[in-house]
Subunit: 116 residues, 10 copies
């Protein structure tokens, strides 16, 4: 089950500079809560770190933990955003989820966070 | 016949955040009202939900209901926009219709709605 | 309903030479006999004419006549082969049907005829 | 010879909304006025209709009417813009002409009109 | 767990003709038996039916049943071939498995069966 | 009007070696004899020269001479083959004509000649 | 040797309208001043004409005149900009030079001019 | 070991004009500090020179000097930016590092510098 | 240094069937023995196993061991073939090495082995 | 001027094995003997070495030596074949020359040599 405690962070060595980090994970899979059939998609995480960066291997394990969860496209995108913002407290973050064709329709959800 | 009553919605779980949802339907077909021959195209729906999201399977059935309707490119795009805005009352919506080559010319129509 | 009587032929002006004619129709649509939902695909017809060639506009009308028929991938491919062979009696013909993704799987069926 | 009288229009059914219509015609051909050799290119017409839309078949015939005219790239682009603006009086129009390689160089011309 | 009893077949309506059926399933996933991490790939099934065809929805469920199995690339390919040959007794079958990059290396396994 | 007298040849400097020459002309246009509307396509000429090679500029002028001729796809391919074989008497020649989409269908015709 | 006197201009027929002209020349070659080996690249010229347009054949001859000149990437881009601005006195001009891989690195230089 | 003393510069011949120079190096490799396994990526350097330009061959040698260094994606990007800014004191610089898939995830880091 | 002792094998579970295994490693790098500069390429290994298969992680380590070796394209290809044939004694093996552009030329070497 | 004395060879270290070497040179340029204008193309050399291999840098210099020669497509292909066969006496060689569009037509010439 999706578990945000899997996420680990490390100290940003260049906190005085705003810069972008983009991780693209094309092997995301979860389960459709209505049909029980698997969904497949690509999750892209773009962020400007503040004091902390997301550790890459822990990100992989976190995304893999959705494998057998039943969850809608809109929810998974917003939940990943909430979990990652909580873990690394970035200056900015954008999550883009691109899901494969189902019933002849492909879907993308984009959600972003801006530190106030 | 195109029937907006086919559209179903569900409650947006993240109404406090502006985020984008994009559905791309490359298997749209209707009929040319002048020649009676089939038209083929891709309909892309991009929107920022307010309180309601469009249910994906009902969207497929709604788009399929144009299958034997005679309707012009310009009309089908604006009509889909009107029907979807009425169904889910979004903060923003953009419909892009890309139709296949006819007489050596391909056509795209783009119409958008912004909540006042 | 699919109607082979829509097919028209014309006299091959170069019957002494074996040559290939290939028509590719990426706008084929029929209906799934199990779900009632539309299927979409590309039909490619490659043949070596004998005395007769297939008239292109009649081919379009013939393929369009499957629009509201419920028929399986395997059957539609073999039926198009049978109908076209009967109509133009070619020296050779190959039908390739490439259907779009359904349930995460795309399908192709290839059937050929060789004059004995 | 290029003849703007070939252009026909129809009433825009959605005049209260600013929306884009894009027609892409990759089979444009005219003649080089210096060499007499044919030129080939793609003409793209993007516009925001006001009261009138361009009828698609008449657009095809209008573009085909350049087939044997000797005319420079810069002139053909501006002339198509003038003719179409006169015919449908749009709120905005952009003509993009992309011509094939001649002497190792390909050329594009872009001209736009904005209603005052 | 992978379960060949999920596979269903239907009667081939054209048994007198040798023809090809190709199903391509780009959403295959299983688990690496060494690391426990998920593997992702595309499975392509090409066959010449004899008396029986593979039912498409049952094929999807069969392939999905590998989702949480630990199995090597070479084994999964040969096992799918054995299971499908047993289910539909084809005249010919080729399984191609294309797995995503692991450790900078992507892998493909191809195994075929020919009726004697 | 298509005029094979436009074709010029030059002496093959390497007649003792069988080698291929391929000319690809993507700017071919003629007129549909049924509708009077222009057709567009790509003509590819592959041949093994014997004593003579086709001069490239004359080939361009020859292909351009079809510009306002009404001729079917099948005929234009076979006629170009006959004219070029007569002009340069090659050991082998293959003409491939790929025509753009008309009525949702694209067409290719392939005809070849082999010296006896 | 690169010679700006090769450049010819003609009168802009539409001086009352700001419009773009883009010429793309993918067959540019000069010589590396350090190694004496040839460099290859694509030069793209985008400009808004004022009273004068650049004649296309003269542009080709001008670009070809760099063929045996030893000149650095940065210099050739700025020099072409200076020469073309002097020749046609445009309202705006942008030169983009994209050079092929040397030592595993490809390089692009972009320089622009804006009439004051 | 990465050595910024390898970097050489030359005098910008056009210091009065702001223009872009972009170098793209797709053959970058370093070593993962955690696993000791090699990482591979593409480094793109875009800058507006002030008085000095980066000499291309020295840039290649500088990038090659990371070959056996253990360094994280985020650090290598910021360090290259710091070293290049120190060497050529540009008006603006952007470093983009695109690293290949590791554990199913590809990563990009973008860092920029603006002269105050 | 390249070390064939890094290669490990495992028992082929399907020795009664001839089947293909293809590993594609796009992150190969070695050093040019003449210039000392790094070379980059893609190594593809296609084989029909007999009693033994190549273990994938050991293959990665074996290919990585060329990282700082000075070796020519032709030699590296033949040496990889010899080492892998010795390690797994396949029925057939083909090594394809595709090296990146050097001096404007890219190179591929293909060597194969067939059990007698 | 094209000079085959620029070609150097080295000893094939694996003469007991038939294997392929392919060099692809996309930066070939010569001059059209009729118009004096530059031609551009890609030369691909595929061969099976016997006792000798072609040294890569000398190949580059040899191909560069055509830069200012006036020579036809058919001649340059056959001449490169003759020069390279003479230099390295291969078991097999194929030269493929792909020239850019001139007058709307691109051309390819293929010539091969087989040791008797």
């Amino acid at each position: 089950m999706a578990d945000k405690k899997l996420l680990e962070v490390f100290k940003n060595e260049y906190p005085n500079r705003d810069y972008n980090i983009i991780h693209s994970a094309p092997e995301f899979t979860s389960v459709c809560p209505k049909t029980g059939q698997p969904d497949f998609g690509k999750i892209t995480i773009e962020y400007v770190p503040d004091e902390l960066c997301i550790e890459l291997k822990s990100l992989k394990l976190y995304l893999n933990s959705y494998r057998n969860d039943g969850i809608f496209y809109e929810s998974v995108t917003n939940k990943i955003l909430d979990d990652l913002v909580e873990a690394c407290k970035p200056r900015y973050m954008l999550i883009t989820s691109e899901f494969n064709v189902r019933g002849g329709i492909s879907s993308t959800v984009e959600a972003e966070y801006m530190k106030e």
